[in-house]
Amino acid sequence: MPGLLERLGGLFGGGVDLRSLISPGGFPGGVHPAQMKITAASPIVQSPLPPQLILPLKQHIGQICIPIVEVGDHVLRGQKVARSQGYVSAPVHAPTSGTVLAIEEHAVPHPSGMGRQCMIIEPDGLDEADQSMPSLCDYLDEDPAIIRERIRLSGIVGLGGAVFPTFIKMLRDQRHPIETVILNGVECEPFLTCDHRVMLEHGDSVVRGLNVIMHAVAAKGGIIAIEDNKPDAVDAMREAIARAGFEANIEVRVLPTRYPQGGEKQLIQAVTGRQVPAGKLPLHIGVICQNVGTAKAIHDAVCMGKPLTERVVTISGDAVPHPANICARIGTPMPFLLAQCGLRDLSGVRLIHGGPMMGERLPRMNVPMVKSTNGILAMRAESLYSENAQEEPCIRCGHCVEVCPVGLVPNELAWHCRNDQFDRGQEYDLFDCIECGCCSYVCPSHIPLVHYFRYAKGQVAHIEKERAFAELSKARSEARDNRLAREQAERAARRSKVRKSGAAEAAADASDDTEAGTSGAESGEKAS
């Protein structure tokens, strides 16, 4: 039935589906892109070790890590090789045993194509594990703080793509007790099936992981949210819950398929019917949201003592001969993974890091997969919509307004961004945009709306930064002017004193230069 409706909707109008008329519940807006989940039935295969692993030292939102091993060192699988710096950070672990070849800048999966500090590890093929971290099998007896610390030390970040350090989301705040943990098994992006396969094949770990999270935040209930296009995952999760005996407080919630249901705030609204107030976090309404992959990683870290060193990746796209779900070590170069799926010649191919709706096109091919890599799409250049679209004038059809899950007016917003009217853009709630891409998806004029929003966000940040720097410079400049004026006054006073006392003036003059120099240096140091 859903498939039929979708086809019917596609027949009637581009992208806008009739089902949104039938099930008005949940979040507003949204679209129904073609699913393209061609790897849904492909079991997860284990990737062999690549000849080299490229480990970016920052794979999360927050501060970059500091390497704690040196070039030439031998490392073990799961050994921490870079420690976190600052609070919002997650350490990096060696994905396998081997030798550190270099710590240098290397291209990372980023739309800019720029590089960042990476650790290059050459595997020794033995895959020896670092056993120093004990498993906490009886996690229910452990203090939640210990579990959180374990999750922090294991380098776990949100694997749905946001890569926010997980332990921060699990902090307990007495004023806002967590009632429900929502496990995000929605996977609304087309093509991607890694979460789907994880639920099918690692259901027990996922449920156990959810239980760990519930224990850590003292939540009473857990909900695993799955879209109705994955009935097998729903069954698998229900069975896993029954096996673990958690029927009383964990339930599976089946949601009608709609993009971007996997967005944290959208999912919370779809499941609880409540919106997270602006400027607040989900925990303020008693909810936290975690991805199913994250739950599995938490399970592995807590119950098996394994830090985050591998994850499941969907390799798909129309240029891939044999699409697959691959469990690979973090740091595995993408061409190595693509080669396993039969794609060796990368000419005329465009790589997308993530799904087609929110994933980024990668200008560089030889980049590693990282913690946020849920999918790698290799698309033929000619079939990549974003590369071939011709922007036409907006005809103000309002489809973007209808599909925006946040309630923005994308066409007006893009208009302001395009004209560099960034204050008007902020007035139109630019920073509430979640960049889900629904607006661009339905736009009959092929306007790259999301691109305009990203451009404007970047510009606003840039302007803010410049303004802050200008403030600082102004303060320094004023301080200098004041100092010079003061010195001049002092000198004049001294001179007149010297003259009065009849002493030689030359001494004062001679000391002028040195004085200015040292005082300048002093104030400079003070200010810095």
Binding site: G14, P405, V409, C443
Partner: protein, 352 residues
């Protein structure tokens, strides 16, 4: 070097062309009714207007050195819409003037597609109405009009007669314009009103029938007479999601409500609601003109405000104004307010 390209990398496949095309398709029933009622004249007029608008568009873009956009169908749609709002007996040069006004003055001057604040077809029509009030209110007696069943002044299915009339005016047929035309229901009611005759009485002496109005067998502009054909097309547009329900429904409902209230207060004096809904250009305006995406609000709430505004102005002008019909004016007036409506009636932002 390459262009930086942001997500999303997929698209639903909608296009401007598809949107314009579906509106043109939705207008087919009304166009067919126009041909049924006004024969060759309707066909001539529609073809002339479509050609005129497309030529104007092509010329403008050529003159400005901008890439041609003829293929997107927006000019053709404007032409068709303009033709459907014209009385069948307008001289060809008047229609052509309308085309030029619509495309040049109301659209290309503003930068072309997507930037015109006013509906081009309506802007052209109002220019014509004010410049040539006589021709623009002379409603040709249509074929199949019940009251003229016995003695039609002119056979509009006769190609050569229509050809003569179209290019050389009624004089070429040896007749005055008055001999070929009749009053439209709205015009009749307005005239009687100014003589102090109530609406019910006026409709009675006009031989008005709701069924004829619904099917379209009455005097009026080419495409505005048949509520049935227009409704069919409107349904199609809504089903295809080219337009949303907000504007047509709020427009028609607000006219209906106002008419109901006043009709209830004084039934002799004020025209009944159903008459208002079926009369004149309301259906055409509500489904095809007010919903013109470029000149209407984008937000659902804004669209409802827009529709209600159109409804109130339409009813007021019809009832109290100097002109018998207010749909065109009401839409143009509300077009002026669209930027403000869009600014002040935005959707609620998530969590705010």
């Amino acid at each position: 070097m390459s262009l930086l390209i942001s997500s999303p990398h997929a698209h639903g496949g909608d296009s401007i062309r598809a949107n314009m095309l579906s509106v043109i398709i939705a207008l087919l029933p009304a166009s067919a009714v126009a041909v049924y009622l006004f024969g060759w004249l309707a066909l001539f007029l529609m073809m002339l207007c479509i050609a005129g608008c497309m030529a104007s568009e092509w010329g403008c873009l050529k003159l400005m050195g901008r890439p041609s956009r003829i293929g997107d169908g927006s000019a053709a749609l404007t032409g068709l819409l303009l033709a459907l709002t014209l009385p069948a007996a307008v001289p060809w040069w008047m229609a052509l003037t309308g085309c030029v006004v619509a495309i040049v003055l109301a659209k290309q001057v503003y930068g072309g597609l997507g930037h015109n604040p006013f509906n081009p077809a309506l802007a052209a029509r109002v220019v014509l109405l004010i410049s040539f009030p006589l021709n623009m209110t002379a409603w040709l007696v249509p074929m199949h009009a019940p009251m003229f069943a016995a003695s039609l002044p002119l056979n509009l299915y006769d190609f050569s007669q229509c050809w003569q009339l179209f290019w050389f005016g009624p004089e070429a047929l040896g007749k005055g314009l008055d001999a070929l035309t009749m009053a439209s229901p709205l015009g009749h009611v307005k005239t009687e009103w100014s003589r102090g005759v109530g609406a019910i009485e006026a409709l009675r002496n006009y031989d008005y029938s709701y069924l004829d109005a619904f099917l379209g067998r009455e005097a009026g502009s080419l495409g505005e007479t048949s509520a049935l054909a227009l409704l069919l097309g409107g349904m199609y547009l809504m089903a295809r999601h080219t337009i949303s329900w907000h504007i047509p429904v709020s427009f028609i409902v607000s006219v209906y409500m106002l008419a109901t209230v006043f009709n209830a207060v004084n039934p002799e004096h004020f025209a009944p609601p159903l008459f208002h809904v079926l009369a004149g250009g309301l259906m055409l305006g509500a489904f095809y003109m007010a919903t013109d995406p470029v000149s209407s609000p984008v937000t659902p709430r804004g669209q409802i405000v827009f529709g209600i505004g159109c409804g109130i102005i339409t009813w007021s002008i019809r009832t109290y104004g100097g002109y018998p019909e207010g749909v065109m004016f009401s839409i143009l007036l509300m077009n002026c307010a669209v930027p403000l409506i869009d600014h002040y009636f935005r959707p609620r932002v998530y969590g705010k």
